[in-house]
């Protein structure tokens, strides 16, 4: 958990960071499931592992494209 969060922060390249963040979202989701919180786990997985990284990737695609 803590290692994963640290990794998200320390990865400086946004593209890789988006991937790590997605894994982090998934790990959090699993942890919440262990914490007997399936409702939260479900929304954390849907949002943290799918929707948010997707938005980050789209934003990144936009930004990277402008630099080329």
């Amino acid at each position: 958990m803590a290692v994963c969060a640290t990794a998200v922060v320390l990865v400086r390249d946004p593209l890789r960071q988006a991937m790590v963040a997605s894994i982090y979202g998934l790990v959090l989701g699993v942890l919440f499931f262990v914490f007997e919180a399936p409702d939260v786990a479900l929304s954390q997985t849907a949002v943290g592992a799918v929707a948010l990284p997707l938005m980050i990737l789209l934003a990144l695609a936009k930004v990277r494209g402008g630099e080329e």
């Binding site: 969060a5 922060v9 988006a18 959090l28 919440f32 914490f35 007997e36 934003a59 990144l60 936009k62």
Partner: protein, 118 residues
């Protein structure tokens, strides 16, 4: 063990803040902000956890089975939505800022900087 989840939450918060302060890229900064916010999910759920208890869902278990606190879960759900929306809004700001100024380095994006060279 009984203190570990709390300590992890504090660590995650600290790491997130560190990332925000040292960030050189707005997208990176926004992700760090959401990492920091995840500390509050962790803290809330840890507070409401009960040893050897069920999830607060009585679909398959008889009423009266010991279950963890449903309130913190509801609060965390709200918090997840709030965190997501703020992140989305910030991402939009970052994208637009990049479009306008061609950079994502927060050190170069300084609004109304007070110029001392008066």
């Amino acid at each position: 063990m009984s203190f570990l989840p709390y300590a992890v939450a504090v660590w995650v918060m600290g790491v997130g803040l560190y990332g925000i302060v040292t960030s050189r890229d707005l997208l990176h900064l926004v992700i760090c902000l959401s990492v920091m916010q995840s500390a509050s999910y962790l803290l809330l759920l840890s507070i409401g956890y009960v040893d050897h208890a069920q999830a607060p869902i009585y679909a398959d278990v008889p009423l009266g089975t010991r279950a963890v606190d449903p309130v913190v879960q509801a609060l965390t759900l709200t918090d997840v939505v709030v965190g997501t929306t703020v992140t989305a809004l910030l991402l939009a700001l970052a994208v637009q800022a990049h479009k306008r100024y061609g950079t994502l380095d927060p050190r170069e994006l300084r609004p109304g900087r007070e110029r001392a060279d008066g």
